[in-house]
């Protein structure tokens, strides 16, 4: 077949490149901050935890979550063609538009994140706060830490899952158009959240707990990824064509092929490392080598999570119906 098209817009043909790395970064950081909310709250709420009860783990984690989300949103804002019109998101609510939902959810999530972070601040950090208002708020919410933590578990999951919901609603982009995509982003978000917990936490018990948890999360993430490919493979021609870039090592699609190879190496390797860690013999403190293994595997998880977002954002835009499939 010989196809010639006269009069096409460069952003949609021959390859759609409407959304780029900025959106991928947002999706990654959005998922990660959701993961941090949930993971740090779980750590606080889980029964039988050792260590000081007023601490959620280390206080930096809840503070990081809104900052990372803000950086993510900043990149999303950078992607807007009319940056000064951003307020228009809040002039209306469109119940059918996941983007509209996303904009409003952020308004709910920010207070939750911030109050939670303030409530979890240890006294010595609070003492250093100069701003009286912030200090007062922090004091006022401190007794409600438990309730805030519970809400953060729920909304962290929502935030993580939301980053996948947006893409999954695009009927025109078969690669994304799957209800399993939000689950994948959820698993990835939680897993990256756990990874950051492992890196930041000082307490050995916390590190080990999240190492164990992350094994399950990565398993789940890989399972969902495999299911997504399998689901697409067994679906219509457009869906099947949509996953082909990942299994084709030709010049044009090599980055996607490489991304799957990388994920396929990094994540299982992370599992193995974590498994070695949790089954190994432990002294009171984590050994230097143990710390190295833990952090390495956590970094693998973070890289894997980022690759998933980048690969899916770009590959999704290759997919489509009709002549996009060719």
């Amino acid at each position: 077949m010989e196809l010639s098209i006269t009069g096409t817009n460069a952003i949609t043909y021959p390859v759609m490149h409407v959304w780029d790395w900025r959106v991928a970064i947002y999706l990654f950081l959005g998922g990660l901050s959701g993961g941090l909310m949930t993971m740090s709250a779980i750590n606080y709420l889980r029964p039988g935890r050792k260590g000081p009860m007023q601490s959620v783990c280390c206080w930096q984690i809840p503070v990081m979550a809104p900052i990372l989300l803000s950086i993510g949103l900043f990149f999303l804002w950078l992607d807007l063609e009319r940056k000064l019109h951003g307020y228009l998101f809040y002039m209306t609510f469109k119940p059918l538009s996941p983007m509209s939902w996303g904009a409003w959810i952020v308004l709910v999530i920010y207070p939750l994140m911030i109050l939670y972070a303030l409530a979890a601040l240890p006294d010595e950090v609070k003492a250093r706060i100069k701003n009286g208002f912030v200090k007062n708020v922090a004091d006022a919410v401190a007794p409600h830490l438990s309730k805030l933590a519970k809400l953060n578990v729920v909304f962290g999951v929502l935030l993580s899952i939301y980053t996948g919901i947006l893409l999954s609603t695009f009927v025109a982009r078969p690669l994304w158009n799957s209800a399993i995509l939000p689950l994948l982003f959820l698993a990835s978000g939680m897993s990256t959240g756990a990874a950051v917990m492992i890196i930041i936490a000082k307490n050995k018990e916390v590190k080990l707990f999240f190492t164990k948890l992350d094994i399950w999360l990565i398993f789940f993430e890989l399972l969902v990824l495999a299911l997504m490919f399998y689901g697409h493979y067994t679906a219509d021609a457009a869906h099947r064509a949509a996953i082909m870039p990942f299994f084709n090592s030709s010049h044009d699609t090599f980055p996607y092929f490489l991304s799957i190879i990388t994920i396929g190496i990094l994540l299982p390797l992370a599992i193995v490392l974590k498994f070695l860690e949790v089954t190994g013999k432990h002294t009171e403190e984590v050994s230097g080598f143990g710390l190295f293994l833990m952090n390495t595997s956590a970094i693998f998880v973070l890289i894997g999570g980022a690759i998933i977002r980048f690969a899916l954002v770009y590959a999704g835009q290759l997919s489509g119906y009709g002549y996009n499939m060719m």
């Binding site: 077949m1 010989e2 196809l3 010639s4 098209i5 006269t6 009069g7 096409t8 817009n9 460069a10 952003i11 949609t12 043909y13 759609m16 409407v18 959304w19 992607d79 807007l80 063609e81 009319r82 019109h85 951003g86 228009l88 998101f89 002039m91 209306t92 469109k94 059918l96 538009s97 996941p98 983007m99 509209s100 996303g102 904009a103 947006l166 609603t169 695009f170 009927v171 025109a172 982009r173 219509d236 457009a238 835009q317 489509g320 119906y321 009709g322 002549y323 996009n324």
Partner: protein, 185 residues
């Protein structure tokens, strides 16, 4: 209220691009952007070949993904069934561009809003046909009101077998294609 639709008689399209340029001029479409395009799809091997000429534009879908995805209501349905963009409301998030199965939207680089075929709404208001239809040299583009049983489009669609593009996506397009290939012998 009318319900506007376009019928494209592919056998009459001679690929002259008059529609493409007319549209660009009528709507001041910026350089390197287009609201309509022409595809020439040749199949077979020498010397037994067939050609499909197909012009494409916004399908003004009944179930338009661009309208449902739009977070601000900039992309919307009008009472005449057309999908239009309220430029003032657009934030340029590009979700509509990504969501369109027909890849017919673009960003106006100068002003940042998403844009696409409007069926020449301003001309319709003046009682004129869309610019591409008015100048279609082959008479391939036919425009009219589906709610009027006597309109040219209604008559043709009753009489002639037709199809829509990417029907499987389920968007309910309003650009109908007839005579995919010219009659032969």
């Amino acid at each position: 209220m009318p319900r506007y639709a376009m019928v494209i008689d592919q056998s009459r399209c001679i690929g002259c691009m008059a529609c493409v340029v007319a549209c660009k001029r009528e709507n001041d479409v910026p350089p390197e952007n287009y609201r309509t395009r022409v595809l020439e799809i040749v199949q077979g091997t020498y010397p037994t070949l067939t050609t499909e000429m197909r012009s494409e534009l916004c399908n003004h879908c009944d179930n338009a993904p661009c309208v449902s995805i739009c977070p601000t209501g900039a992309s919307h349905h009008e009472e005449d069934g057309t999908v239009q963009i309220d430029r003032k409301k657009c934030v340029g998030c590009k979700a509509c561009i990504t969501s369109c199965p027909y890849n017919v939207r673009y960003i106006n680089e100068e002003h940042g809003y998403a844009d696409k075929c409007s069926f020449c709404q301003h001309r319709l208001r003046e009682g004129k046909k869309p610019a591409c239809v008015a100048t279609c040299v082959g008479g391939s583009r036919i425009f009219g009101d589906l709610d009027d049983p006597e309109s040219e489009v209604s008559k043709i669609l009753r009489r002639v077998g037709h199809r829509v593009l990417k029907k499987e996506v389920g968007t309910g397009p309003n650009i109908y294609y007839i005579n995919q290939y010219p009659k032969r012998a």
